[in-house]
């Protein structure tokens, strides 16, 4: 956390993640931002505490199977003694926090990029298909294609920065865009920009070239 994060997740998104209602693609952006942002980590924990209260209020009269406890103890006994689950060690240095490394299979140098033209590259990450998430690599000073949204879009900066109508977004900052935002992010001067972007709708490009390219690049 070298630079302060100024653009955070919204309460709606944090509650949806806490309640388990967010598509996996958005969940990856949330988990990656929260890995970098203790403010949102605490807010997310607050919404998880609501889940704890809902669980506590659940109907305690539901009958368990007759040998349920014994069966669970057998499950536990069947586990090897040393097979306690450990928290994965946090990422030391590098660019990507652990949740993102899980999906990429490594840090930024392990990404299987595909060129989109103009030095812009992308890599779609494997998630459930109700939303998509991709890594985008935008050379400093390059504009992303001008596009609007048919759905919700989360864009998290991991390296470099981009600027658009909403301001400047550096490492750890996340932009939450709805259907109304029509924006043209431009990668700021300095290190090339790498961001993680999730959407639940196909992006609609206004420019001629990107529209032609759309079916081929799978956006």
């Amino acid at each position: 956390m070298t630079t302060p994060i100024t653009h955070h997740l919204t309460d709606d998104i944090l509650m949806a993640h806490a309640s388990g209602s967010l598509p996996e693609a958005f969940g990856l952006v949330v988990a990656t931002h929260v890995s970098l942002c203790d403010e949102c980590r605490a807010r997310l924990a607050g919404y998880e505490a609501v889940g704890g209260a809902v669980l506590e209020d659940s109907d305690p009269s539901v009958a368990m199977a007759e040998d349920s406890l014994a069966a669970t103890l057998r499950l536990i006994a069947a586990m090897p003694e040393d097979d306690r689950i450990d928290a994965p060690a946090p990422a030391e240095g590098g660019v990507f926090p652990m949740p993102l490394r899980d999906y990429v299979g490594g840090d930024a140098d392990a990404v299987q990029w595909r060129a989109l033209g103009g030095g812009v590259r992308q890599a779609v990450l494997p998630t459930a298909r109700d939303a998509t998430v991709r890594l985008l690599y935008i050379p400093a000073g390059m504009a992303m294609p001008d596009h609007g949204h048919g759905g919700m879009e989360l864009t998290l900066v991991l390296q470099g920065a981009f600027e658009d109508a909403g301001g400047r977004y550096g490492r750890g900052d996340v932009e939450v865009a709805g259907e109304d935002l029509d924006h043209t992010p431009v990668a700021a001067p300095g290190p090339d920009c790498i961001c993680l972007a999730a959407t639940d709708a196909p992006l609609k490009f206004h420019g001629l070239l990107p529209r032609l390219a759309q079916p081929f690049i799978g956006i």
Binding site: L28, G52, L55, D57, S58, S61
Partner: protein, 182 residues
């Protein structure tokens, strides 16, 4: 701390005994309280009784295996078990993963502070009472969100619950952990 025990700190003691002593009696007490609630929660979320039973047993087995990862300065036992049950539900019913943030590195050298633990547990109980005190329609809407009945677009985070204090306390616990690390 016998005088200052609350229902929730007693659950914390159970998890600590499982962690330190592999105490099956403590586990049986947790199981009696939480397993039916996890099963009910999963059935409300759309699992049939057989699947809910199977998943509830797996959730409780995970409680045993992950006892050393529970941090009572940051969550009540109910909240922690909720997150395990939620992840199991997403895996079993939606065939998706629930991406988790990387945890702060803390291990045996981090001994949770008793005062902070008690305060967090008390605030969790207050949150529970606030949930029960909500107007019926609002409480049902929150429950439906946590049972996974609402899409992310239908969720509006205006819960009417006082989340500010618990958030601030967790934030301070995170700050203390960060200081320990440096």
């Amino acid at each position: 701390m016998s005088e200052r025990q609350t229902a929730d700190t007693r659950w914390v003691t159970c998890v600590t005994r499982i962690r330190d002593e592999r105490d099956q009696t403590a586990f049986a007490r947790l199981f009696a309280h939480f397993a039916p609630r996890v099963k009910a929660f999963l059935m409300k979320s759309g699992a049939d009784a057989a699947l809910a039973e199977e998943c509830a047993q797996e959730v409780m087995a995970t409680v045993w295996r992950k006892a050393h990862l529970f941090d009572p300065e940051r969550a009540s036992v109910a909240t922690w078990i909720f997150t395990i049950a939620r992840n199991r539900r997403i895996d079993a019913l939606r065939k998706q993963r629930h991406p988790e943030p990387e945890d702060l590195p803390w291990g045996p050298e981090h001994e949770p502070d008793q005062t902070e633990t008690l305060a967090l547990q008390q605030e969790s109980e207050q949150l529970g009472r606030a949930l029960q005190a909500l107007p019926e329609a609002q409480r049902v809407l929150i429950e439906r969100a946590y049972f996974g009945e609402l899409s992310h677009r239908e969720i509006a985070a205006e819960t009417g619950l006082p989340l500010g204090t618990i958030k601030s306390r967790i934030r301070l616990a995170l700050d203390r952990l960060r200081q320990e690390m440096t």
